[in-house]
Amino acid sequence: MRMDSVAPPGRQALARWAPEPVAALAEVESVAAASVDATTLELVRRRVAALLGTTVPATGDAAAPLSPERAAALDDWRGSPLLDDREQALLTFVEQFVFSVSSMGDEEVAALLEHATAEQVHELANVTWAVDLTTRLDLVAAAVLA
């Protein structure tokens, strides 16, 4: 899921002490990345990173799933004409998931279900968890363990 080939410092420190779970977590990230389209994954990665006060590595890839204009629109995405209804529902879900999942309402999930099957929404929740918690893990492990 990470676009860089070198694990961040916190993840490297974790791998020294718990190599088996760190490898299993990398497999989760790989499977999660393959379970959604590239644009959805990039939207989740960028939004989670912004909410947690960090950034995603730049790919420098001309075929990046988000154009620079659409990526810039994420700073003020609500109502942006550059993001369609499905993407706005996704970003609403991601924000609630990251900040306070216990306050998630039926309406946030219902908005996703207008554009996806129940199984796809389940996959999306898992992808969001994977991005959310690995981002948090890398930040905290870098601070206390690296």
Binding site: A18, A24, G53, V101, H122, A125, N126, T128, L137, V144
Partner: protein, 171 residues
Amino acid sequence: MSGPRIPLPTDSSVPKYGTPIDHAVAAFAASVVRQRALDPATTELVRLRCARVHDCRLCRSVRNVEATDVDEATAAKIDRYETSDLDERAKVALRLTDAMILDPSTADARLRADARRLFSEAEIAELLLDVVKWSQQKASVALRIEPAPRDGLSELRFDDQGRARVGAALA
């Protein structure tokens, strides 16, 4: 109380819905459970903090039978742990947990020093990975597919492979 937002799983022979990511998550979770650096009591405090902050109905309703030091009086102190009489090691474990699940920016030099004074690096690594594992509940809570198995508390056990099993009701 919200009901399920998508249909509940129906095949108990596979993790959740049996999708590739469900299997990968189950393998990761089991690998974390098989780690043995951290004591069961600290692990249980961390698990219950995640359960309470994320409001996971299933996780809140079970108690790890290995954590014999964590009784209900101790569990009740988790919500206001900073002002409780929990010992410093428990408080630092819960601060690390909160840095993970609430605000990573609180993982500062002081928390690093406290953590490394009271825990080995292997214990810190396991604790952080525990939080990732327990917080998988966020995906279930978001969709409200985490009903408690029964009214009241139930036993939580793990087999030799690290797979979770909810057992009998606790008195």
